[in-house]
Amino acid sequence: MPPIVFADHAPRNVAASRLSVRIEGIGAWTRGAPDWPSMRALLRGEQGLREDAPGKPAAGALPAAERRRAPEGVLLATEIAAQACAMAARDAAGLPCVFASTQGELAITDYMCETLSVAPRELSPTKFHNSVHNAPAGYWTIATGCTAGSSAVSGYHVTFGAGLLEAAVLAAAEDTPVLFAAYDVAATGPLLEIARISRAFGMALVLAPCDEAAIPRITLTLRNRPAAITAAPAAVAALAQDNPLTAHALALLAALAGNTNSRLTLPAASGLLLDMEICT
C-alpha cells in the first residue's frame, strides 16, 4: 500500500466570516395565513388572519394516501417546502434540504409516551416511524424523488437561527441551492404544559449561494457579543407568544415583507447571535 498523499485539496476559504444567500423562494403557513402572499399581507398590516382559512395545510406535494395518514408536522413542513420550491421554480428532486423544528411531532410524542405508559406492546409501528425528527424530510424526499442529502435539526429555543445557519453553510460550502424549512406543531396532552407550543407555524426558504450584489439576499454574520434580539412585529406577536421559533421566523419574514433594506439580529446558539442584513 503506497502512502496516501493529499496534494490537490480544494481551495480553502478560511477568511469568510460573512455568508450571503439569495432568497429564491418563500413559503409560509399558519392558520389564517396559509401562504407567503397572505403572510406578507398580514405582516404589512394589509389584512388580518383569514377567518375562513383551512385548519390544516393542504400538503399537495404528498400523494393522497400519504396526505390522509401523515401527521400534522409532515403536512405543514411539506406544504411550506413546496411553496418555497414553486416560487423559486426549483425542482425539489435536486435540492439538499434542512428541516428545523424545536420539538418535532408533539402529538406523536404524546401518543408514544401515553401508550408506553399503559400498553407498550400496542404501540403503532407507523406512529413509531413517524416519530423520528426527520419524518418530514423522509416524506418530502420520497414525495419529490429527492436523492440529495436531507437533514433534520433542532436547537431548542434557538432552533430557527441554528437551522438557518446550517442551511446557509450547506449552500455556501457545497455551492448549491438549499431548501430550508422551519416549523413546529402544537403540543397535546400532559406535554402541553412542558413544551407549551399551542399553534402550528412554518416557513421555508430556498437559499442559493450568491455574492453581495444579488437581491433579495440575506447576509449572515456571527456575533459573540450581546445585542438586542429583533422582536416579531407587535401586530403578529400573539402568534409567537409560546414559541421562539415562530417569533424569530416572523422577525425575518417581516424584514422580507418590507420594501427596504433592513438589519436584524437573531440567536443561533447560547451566547451566539446571527446578525442579518436583508437586502430586498
Binding site: H9, S17, Q103, L116, S117, S151, G271
Partner: protein, 397 residues
Amino acid sequence: MPQRIPPLAVTACSATSALGRGVAAHAQALRAGRGGLRVNDFSSATLACFIGRAEGVENAPLPQAFAHWECRNNRLAWLGLQQDGLLAAVERVIERHGADRVGLILGTSTASIGASEEAYRRLDDGHFPEDLARPAIHTPHSLAAFVAEATGIGGPALTISTACSSSAKVFASAERMMRLGLIDAALVGGVDTLCDSVLFGFNALELVSSQPCRPFDVRRNGISIGEAAAFAVLERIEAAPRALRLIGYGESSDAHHMSTPHPQARGARAALDQALARAGLEPDAVDYINLHGTATIKNDEMEALLLPEFPRASRASSTKGFTGHTLGAAGALEAVFALLAIEHGFIPPTLHCEQPFEGPHPWLALEPHEQRVNIALSNSFGFGGNNACLAFARAEA
C-alpha cells in the same frame, strides 16, 4: 460528484457503550471478539430480546451543578465526555481558538425521551411530576444544550436528528463550518440511550430479534438495540499533522420508503460514492468498511450490494453484534471503531455471524485479525431513507 475536501485532524475521540468506558476497552473487546449484549433487563415491561446496555449509568448522577440536566441520556453523555481525555481536549481547543470559534454538533435520535416516558408513567394528576417538570430535557436538543453548558463551547451548537444516521452527519456539518472559516474546531458525536420508545417501537415494526443480532447471517432476524456515547474533536490538520484524519463524507436520501431501504441500495451507494469523491479515492484504496449491518433482513441484503465495488482485499464487518444498534449514536460510535481499526491495525469481526449469506461473504471479516489499515469507511443509514458514509485515514507518511 462533490470536490475533494481538505482533510481534518481527529485530535481526540472517545466511546462508551456496552463494551465499556473509553476507547481502550472498545479496542480490546473488538480485537478479542468479546461482545457486550445481554438479556433485556431494561424495558418497563418485559420484552424478550438482547440489549447493549452501558454499565453503571444508574449509579453515575450528574454533578450537582448540572442537576437540572439529569436524565439517562445526559448521564451517558457525561460519562462519555470523561473518557479518553476528551474534556481536556475540548478545553485545549477552547483555549487555543476561543470558545466562540469551537462548534458543537451532536447527533441523537432518542435524546432524553426516556425522561418524558417516565414522566407519563408517573403523572401527578395529569401533570409531569415535579422532579421531571424541566422543559429543557423534554426536547431533542437536550443533549447538545447540556454538553454546551458542560464544556463551555460557545460557537454554533446544533442537534442533528435523522434517526440512525444522525451522528454520522455531524462530521459533515462540522467540516463545512470549518471549511467556510466559521469555526476552527468542533466537538462532534452522538448519544442515544435505551428507552421504551425504541425497544417497543422497533418491536412493533417486527425488527427486534429475540437473540443477539446476527448481521449478514442467513438466519438473521432483526436488531438488538444498544446505547452509546461517542465523541470526536476535529481540528485543521496543521494543529496535529500526525493525527488520524476525516477525509470524506457523503449524505443522500433514498426517496423510497420511510422504514425500508431502497432495494437496489441507490441512496447508500450515492453516499458511499460521495465520500470517496470528497476523499479523492477509488474503492480499491479502502482497507476496511464498518458496515451499518443492523441484522434486519432488508438492510443487510441492501448493503451487501455495495461490496462488489471493492476489491476482495477490502475487509468489511458490522460491529452491531458487539454493541447492539446504538441508533442515533451509531454513526459516531462506529466512526470511532473505524479510527481504532486504523490506529491499532485490526479488523473487528462480524460477531454472531456464523453462516453469512453468499453475496457479502468474500468481504466479510468473521474472525478478528490484525492488519494494517490506512483507509476506513463507516456506513450509517436511517429511517426516512437517510444515508451517510464517512471516510477516515492515517496521516500521510
